[in-house]
Amino acid sequence: MIHGTLKHFLEDMLDIAGYAKKEKETYVVSLENTLREAVAIELLKKFPKDDADVFTDFITRHKKNPRIVQEFFKSLSTKEEFIQISTEKTYSFTLEIVESFLLSATEQQKKRVKHLIERYNISRIQTRTVRS
Protein backbone atom coordinates (compact mmCIF):
# COMPACT_ATOMS: atom_id res chain seq x y z
CA MET A 1 0.00 0.00 0.00
CA ILE A 2 1.23 3.46 -0.85
CA HIS A 3 0.86 5.93 1.97
CA GLY A 4 0.10 9.29 0.53
CA THR A 5 -1.00 11.86 3.06
CA LEU A 6 0.67 14.01 5.66
CA LYS A 7 -1.44 12.27 8.27
CA HIS A 8 0.03 8.90 7.29
CA PHE A 9 3.49 10.40 7.24
CA LEU A 10 3.05 11.81 10.74
CA GLU A 11 1.63 8.53 12.03
CA ASP A 12 4.66 6.70 10.66
CA MET A 13 6.90 9.23 12.36
CA LEU A 14 5.04 8.72 15.62
CA ASP A 15 5.64 4.98 15.22
CA ILE A 16 9.34 5.75 15.11
CA ALA A 17 8.93 7.91 18.20
CA GLY A 18 7.41 4.90 19.97
CA TYR A 19 3.82 6.04 20.32
CA ALA A 20 1.13 3.42 20.91
CA LYS A 21 -1.89 3.32 18.58
CA LYS A 22 -4.22 5.19 20.96
CA GLU A 23 -1.57 7.80 21.71
CA LYS A 24 -1.05 8.32 17.99
CA GLU A 25 -4.75 8.92 17.40
CA THR A 26 -4.91 11.42 20.24
CA TYR A 27 -1.80 13.19 19.00
CA VAL A 28 -3.10 13.46 15.42
CA VAL A 29 -6.44 14.88 16.56
CA SER A 30 -4.59 17.40 18.67
CA LEU A 31 -2.43 18.33 15.69
CA GLU A 32 -5.45 18.83 13.50
CA ASN A 33 -6.88 21.25 16.03
CA THR A 34 -3.61 23.11 16.35
CA LEU A 35 -3.43 23.28 12.59
CA ARG A 36 -6.88 24.86 12.43
CA GLU A 37 -5.70 27.51 14.84
CA ALA A 38 -2.57 28.09 12.76
CA VAL A 39 -4.67 28.57 9.62
CA ALA A 40 -6.97 30.84 11.57
CA ILE A 41 -4.08 33.04 12.64
CA GLU A 42 -3.01 33.38 9.02
CA LEU A 43 -6.51 34.49 8.07
CA LEU A 44 -6.65 36.92 10.96
CA LYS A 45 -3.59 38.70 9.66
CA LYS A 46 -5.83 40.16 6.97
CA PHE A 47 -7.75 42.21 9.52
CA PRO A 48 -6.90 45.37 11.48
CA LYS A 49 -5.35 44.60 14.85
CA ASP A 50 -8.42 45.56 16.89
CA ASP A 51 -10.65 43.23 14.92
CA ALA A 52 -8.06 40.48 15.05
CA ASP A 53 -8.00 40.70 18.85
CA VAL A 54 -11.75 40.25 18.98
CA PHE A 55 -11.60 37.28 16.65
CA THR A 56 -8.80 35.73 18.67
CA ASP A 57 -10.95 36.05 21.77
CA PHE A 58 -13.78 34.38 19.90
CA ILE A 59 -11.55 31.46 18.85
CA THR A 60 -10.25 31.04 22.37
CA ARG A 61 -13.77 30.79 23.74
CA HIS A 62 -14.75 28.23 21.12
CA LYS A 63 -11.57 26.25 20.80
CA LYS A 64 -13.22 23.17 22.27
CA ASN A 65 -15.67 23.24 19.39
CA PRO A 66 -13.50 23.11 16.26
CA ARG A 67 -16.54 22.98 13.99
CA ILE A 68 -17.66 26.46 15.01
CA VAL A 69 -14.18 27.89 14.68
CA GLN A 70 -13.62 26.11 11.39
CA GLU A 71 -16.86 27.37 9.89
CA PHE A 72 -16.19 30.86 11.11
CA PHE A 73 -12.84 30.97 9.38
CA LYS A 74 -14.09 29.36 6.27
CA SER A 75 -16.50 32.27 6.07
CA LEU A 76 -13.69 34.82 6.24
CA SER A 77 -12.12 34.13 2.89
CA THR A 78 -12.91 33.05 -0.62
CA LYS A 79 -12.74 29.36 -1.39
CA GLU A 80 -9.53 29.69 -3.39
CA GLU A 81 -7.83 31.84 -0.80
CA PHE A 82 -8.84 29.52 2.00
CA ILE A 83 -7.49 26.47 0.21
CA GLN A 84 -4.24 28.26 -0.54
CA ILE A 85 -3.71 29.44 3.04
CA SER A 86 -4.77 26.09 4.46
CA THR A 87 -2.50 24.12 2.14
CA GLU A 88 0.56 26.30 2.70
CA LYS A 89 0.07 26.29 6.45
CA THR A 90 -0.49 22.54 6.54
CA TYR A 91 2.85 21.84 4.87
CA SER A 92 4.82 24.35 6.92
CA PHE A 93 3.13 23.22 10.12
CA THR A 94 3.93 19.56 9.41
CA LEU A 95 7.55 20.45 8.73
CA GLU A 96 7.67 22.25 12.08
CA ILE A 97 6.48 19.04 13.73
CA VAL A 98 9.11 17.00 11.89
CA GLU A 99 11.76 19.45 13.06
CA SER A 100 10.53 19.34 16.66
CA PHE A 101 10.79 15.57 16.59
CA LEU A 102 14.27 15.59 15.07
CA LEU A 103 15.50 17.98 17.76
CA SER A 104 15.01 15.34 20.44
CA ALA A 105 15.34 12.18 18.34
CA THR A 106 18.14 9.66 18.74
CA GLU A 107 20.52 9.05 15.84
CA GLN A 108 18.76 5.75 15.20
CA GLN A 109 15.38 7.50 15.03
CA LYS A 110 16.79 10.12 12.65
CA LYS A 111 18.00 7.34 10.37
CA ARG A 112 14.56 5.79 10.43
CA VAL A 113 12.97 9.13 9.52
CA LYS A 114 15.43 9.38 6.64
CA HIS A 115 14.37 5.92 5.44
CA LEU A 116 10.74 6.93 5.87
CA ILE A 117 11.26 9.91 3.57
CA GLU A 118 12.98 7.69 1.03
CA ARG A 119 10.12 5.23 1.19
CA TYR A 120 7.58 7.98 0.50
CA ASN A 121 9.70 9.25 -2.36
CA ILE A 122 9.73 5.76 -3.89
CA SER A 123 5.97 5.48 -3.40
CA ARG A 124 5.48 8.75 -5.22
CA ILE A 125 7.68 7.68 -8.12
CA GLN A 126 5.85 4.36 -8.37
CA THR A 127 2.48 6.10 -8.29
CA ARG A 128 3.58 8.47 -11.03
CA THR A 129 4.89 5.60 -13.16
CA VAL A 130 1.70 3.59 -12.80
CA ARG A 131 -0.43 6.62 -13.68
CA SER A 132 1.66 7.49 -16.71
Binding site: H3, G4, T5, L6, K7, H8, F9, L10, V28, L31, E32, L35, R36, V39, D50, D51, D53, V54, F55, D57, F58, I68, Q70, E71, F72, K74, S75, L76, S77, T78, K79, E81, F82, I83, S86, T87, T90, Y91, T94, L95, V98, E99, L102, L103, A105, E107, K110, K111, V113, K114, I117, Y120, N121, R124
Partner: protein, 73 residues
Amino acid sequence: MPETGEHSPLKVAKGIETFLESRQVTLQFLKAAFGKENVEGMTRGITPLVGLDTPVTEPFLSKAGQLVEKYSS
Protein backbone atom coordinates in the same frame (compact mmCIF):
# COMPACT_ATOMS: atom_id res chain seq x y z
CA MET B 1 -29.29 45.26 14.42
CA PRO B 2 -26.15 47.38 14.21
CA GLU B 3 -25.74 49.91 11.43
CA THR B 4 -22.48 50.21 9.50
CA GLY B 5 -19.92 52.08 11.57
CA GLU B 6 -21.94 51.90 14.79
CA HIS B 7 -20.80 48.54 16.08
CA SER B 8 -18.17 47.92 18.72
CA PRO B 9 -15.68 45.07 18.34
CA LEU B 10 -17.40 43.25 21.17
CA LYS B 11 -20.76 43.47 19.43
CA VAL B 12 -19.15 42.15 16.28
CA ALA B 13 -17.87 39.11 18.16
CA LYS B 14 -21.26 38.56 19.69
CA GLY B 15 -22.81 38.86 16.27
CA ILE B 16 -20.50 36.24 14.82
CA GLU B 17 -21.41 33.93 17.64
CA THR B 18 -25.09 34.41 16.93
CA PHE B 19 -24.49 33.81 13.26
CA LEU B 20 -22.69 30.56 13.85
CA GLU B 21 -24.96 29.21 16.51
CA SER B 22 -28.36 30.14 15.20
CA ARG B 23 -27.58 30.70 11.51
CA GLN B 24 -30.12 33.51 11.60
CA VAL B 25 -28.21 36.48 10.37
CA THR B 26 -28.91 39.02 7.70
CA LEU B 27 -26.71 40.31 4.96
CA GLN B 28 -27.03 43.79 6.45
CA PHE B 29 -25.47 42.59 9.68
CA LEU B 30 -22.61 40.92 7.86
CA LYS B 31 -21.91 44.08 5.92
CA ALA B 32 -22.01 46.12 9.10
CA ALA B 33 -19.70 43.78 10.91
CA PHE B 34 -17.13 42.97 8.27
CA GLY B 35 -17.45 45.37 5.38
CA LYS B 36 -18.92 44.75 1.98
CA GLU B 37 -15.71 43.25 0.55
CA ASN B 38 -15.61 40.41 3.02
CA VAL B 39 -19.26 39.48 2.77
CA GLU B 40 -18.74 37.74 -0.54
CA GLY B 41 -16.22 35.41 1.07
CA MET B 42 -18.53 34.74 3.99
CA THR B 43 -21.50 33.78 1.95
CA ARG B 44 -19.70 31.40 -0.36
CA GLY B 45 -19.93 27.66 -0.03
CA ILE B 46 -18.10 26.03 2.81
CA THR B 47 -14.86 24.36 1.81
CA PRO B 48 -13.41 21.69 4.06
CA LEU B 49 -10.17 22.52 5.81
CA VAL B 50 -7.34 20.97 3.81
CA GLY B 51 -5.84 19.52 6.96
CA LEU B 52 -3.55 16.55 7.29
CA ASP B 53 -5.26 14.61 4.51
CA THR B 54 -3.15 16.69 2.15
CA PRO B 55 -0.98 14.49 -0.10
CA VAL B 56 2.71 14.16 0.61
CA THR B 57 4.46 16.10 -2.13
CA GLU B 58 7.96 16.16 -3.52
CA PRO B 59 8.78 19.65 -2.12
CA PHE B 60 7.58 18.54 1.29
CA LEU B 61 9.75 15.40 1.23
CA SER B 62 12.68 17.44 0.01
CA LYS B 63 12.37 19.91 2.90
CA ALA B 64 11.87 17.08 5.40
CA GLY B 65 15.03 15.43 4.02
CA GLN B 66 16.94 18.68 4.49
CA LEU B 67 15.82 18.79 8.10
CA VAL B 68 17.06 15.24 8.69
CA GLU B 69 20.43 16.20 7.22
CA LYS B 70 20.52 19.34 9.36
CA TYR B 71 19.98 17.45 12.60
CA SER B 72 22.04 14.35 11.82
CA SER B 73 25.57 14.19 13.09
